[in-house]
């Protein structure tokens, strides 16, 4: 049987302080996650969404997206799972210049492209995204190791059978 192809995609801007966190988390996960039998995993990074996501995601069976978010209501460093309806709140999964993730996925489907049938979006509450710099803010830096552990556990939990069942619809 063909391996289940999975993409773990980190979104962010590496030079905009906490905005880098999606990318940094994926780099850590690449080091720490053991790829189970029957899976093929690509660890990718991107700094923009829109049409670009269509290019990246086409062909995968499943995708984990890791991004940052500022809700102002959660402690910095808190890992959350985001449903597709909430995409507008994320830093990067929408784009004023072209299309958002849900539209990109639907467009791909409408055009007969093979789009992932499984999507999970995790976001990390961040603090400083309005100043250029290569360092995470202190609270996010402190919370980072725990965030890696929680994301790893969440993803590993899904490897054991949860992946194929959790189909989502983009309509």
């Amino acid at each position: 049987m063909k391996d289940y192809s999975l993409c773990i995609l980190g979104l962010g801007n590496e030079i905009l302080k906490d905005d880098a966190v999606g990318i940094l988390l994926v780099r850590e996960l690449e080091k720490e996650l053991e790829v189970p039998e029957g899976f093929k995993i690509d660890f990718l990074e991107a700094s923009l969404a829109g049409f670009n996501l269509l290019d990246i995601l086409v062909g995968y069976d499943g995708v984990f997206i890791i991004d940052s978010i500022v809700t102002g209501k959660e402690a910095p460093g808190t890992v959350m799972e985001l449903d597709l309806d909430s995409l507008k709140s994320t830093l990067r999964l929408t784009s004023v210049h072209d299309i958002n993730l849900a539209t990109a996925l639907k467009l791909g489907e409408d055009l007969g492209m093979k789009m992932p049938s499984f999507i999970k979006i995790y976001v990390l509450e961040v603090l400083e995204i309005f100043e250029f710099g290569e360092e995470l803010s202190e609270p996010v830096k402190e919370a980072f190791p725990l965030a890696v552990v929680r994301l790893k556990a969440a993803i590993e939990g899904l490897f054991s059978g949860g992946l194929v069942d959790a189909r989502v619809s983009f309509d």
């Binding site: 959350m80 909430s86 507008k88 830093l91 409408d110 995790y122 250029f132 710099g133």
Partner: protein, 495 residues
């Protein structure tokens, strides 16, 4: 509103009302006079700090790799402007082959950006229709209208343009190829053949897009009225790069400014920009207002005496006397025969983008068929002491300036960047004010306010990320209407 539930894996699942994320807002404030009509309208964006400081004391040759990261939307434009500024710092010109490679890369950057903008943002209004239900006014509605086959062509050609940038630039999004005095990688014959096929296909696709626009727009009087009517028109001056024959050039040339009547006002070298461009500051905005210094700043008013100028696709065509390639020249002539010249109606930017898409495709084919394009002579030696450089290109949204100064070791000491959205700040404010005036009468606010305002600034496709050096997210739009005392009368949000 934030709704939180626990899931079985122990993580919180959150649904967030978009209103809670206030950062990153495009904020519009409309002030009414005593009669309840629009007195002023301000467009505001959040400030991102510290980019110049971030660049300081870094080796200047790193800037072509750092500046594209300001923004994920037009990294190619920053890469090119920055590479040219660094050429200037080291007092060196790229070899002819390197210059051609850069231009080939850059026309593909333009194509990719124009396709995304036209099909995701303009076509929903013009191909699907401005009166269509909001749920259909998106790219899915466009595909439903033009068909799956044409929709597939859109995606394919956008991907082609990305691919060429990747082949030449090393990476499609954050390119690394341009170095002071040239490029890091020559083009192989194998890749040349691939790109030639793609450029041929782009020409056909540009012709298809032009026809689609003309069929949809020119056959409909209401659309023509939208473009040529007064609602979205402003008598501003225009600024763009031109070649020696005053034709559009994305990569290099002289900066030309034409006035509200289309007559040449100035023609100057990029390094002279400080003599011609002033920057006005308003206490209510982080974003500066560039203006023509010799005309002076007379407030947010248009007209021949105003110093306000606009940049972007329409500005480029208004400034130029023509296009350097045949099919684009035809399309250019047709546009101005239909609309007159200069065109002040901002929605004509959408048509101008398609004329430029054709030019970019034709120029790309010319470049890829140039025997020198696969030359391995792609880098000049650096022998001069570094000092100061200016890099100016036409970004998809308008002219882009990079100006660097270094110490004698080549460490960046001063970095100044003026992006298209900043050049267009005053025109955007004018457009929003006019759109608001059309829908607010004697204190009565028409329901169409947000749509009208949205169409007004969408034509510029403002890049808030770049303008404030931030990354662009969704731009939830908040419009606040205030009376003469500054009391909030109404507030409308678009998520």
């Amino acid at each position: 509103m934030t709704h939180t539930v626990k899931t079985k894996d122990g993580l919180k699942r959150v649904s967030i009302d978009p209103i809670t994320r206030l950062e990153g807002h495009g904020k519009i404030e409309i002030f009414l006079n005593e009669e309840g009509n629009v007195a002023n309208a301000y467009f505001q964006v959040p400030e991102l700090r510290g980019f110049e400081k971030f660049c300081e004391d870094r080796p200047v040759e790193e800037l072509p790799r750092i500046t594209p990261r300001i923004c994920g939307v037009c990294p190619g434009a920053h890469h090119m402007a920055s590479a040219k500024a660094v050429d200037g710092v080291f007092g060196v010109s790229p070899t002819p082959a390197a210059k051609k490679l850069r231009e080939l890369y850059y026309v593909n950057h333009m194509i990719h950006s124009h396709i995304a903008h036209f099909y995701a943002l303009a076509a929903p209004d013009f191909v699907v229709g401005p009166d269509a239900p909001k749920a259909e006014r998106n790219i899915l509605g466009v595909v439903a209208k033009v068909g799956v086959e044409a929709g597939t062509e859109v995606i394919k050609h956008r991907a082609y343009a990305q691919k060429v940038q990747e082949i030449i630039g090393g990476k499609a999004t954050h390119s690394v190829a341009a170095l002071p005095g040239g490029m890091s990688k020559a083009l192989s014959e194998e890749d040349r053949v691939k790109i030639e096929e793609m450029m041929l296909s782009q020409i056909e696709f540009a012709a298809f897009s032009l026809k689609l626009f003309k069929d949809a727009v020119l056959s409909n009087e209401n659309y023509v009225e939208l473009i040529t009517g007064d609602t979205y028109a402003h008598n501003t001056h225009y600024m763009a790069l031109v070649d020696e024959n005053n034709r559009v050039n994305f990569y290099e040339g002289m900066i030309r400014v034409v006035d509200t009547k289309g007559e040449e006002l100035y023609r100057f070298k990029p390094e002279e920009y400080l003599e011609y461009i002033g920057e006005h500051v308003e206490s209510w905005s982080y974003l500066k207002f560039p203006y023509l210094k010799k005309k002076g700043w007379h407030g947010l008013v248009d007209g021949q005496d105003s110093g306000i100028y606009a940049v972007g696709p329409l500005a480029r065509l208004n400034v130029a006397d023509g296009m350097a390639t045949p099919k684009a020249q035809e399309a250019y002539e047709e546009m101005f025969e239909t609309l007159g010249k200069p065109v002040h109606g901002r929605l004509a930017n959408h048509w101008a983008r398609l004329v430029e898409m054709m030019y970019a495709a034709e120029l790309g084919l010319e470049l890829i068929r140039d025997p020198e394009i696969t030359s391995t002579e792609i880098r000049q030696k650096l022998t001069n002491v570094p000092s100061e450089g200016f890099g100016v290109v036409e970004a998809p949204r308008g002219i882009l300036f990079h100006h660097y100064q270094t110490d004698e070791r080549g460490m960046a000491k001063k970095v100044n960047i003026i992006v298209a959205t900043t050049h267009n700040n005053a025109p955007i404010c004018l457009s929003i004010k006019k759109a608001a005036q059309g829908v607010i009468k004697n204190g009565e606010v028409n329901d169409g306010l947000l749509n009208m305002v949205e169409m007004a600034f969408r034509a510029y496709d403002p890049c808030l990320g770049c303008a404030t050096h931030s990354m662009p997210g969704e731009m939830p739009l908040e419009v606040t209407i205030k009376d003469t005392q500054g009391r909030v009368l109404d507030s409308i949000r678009r998520h």
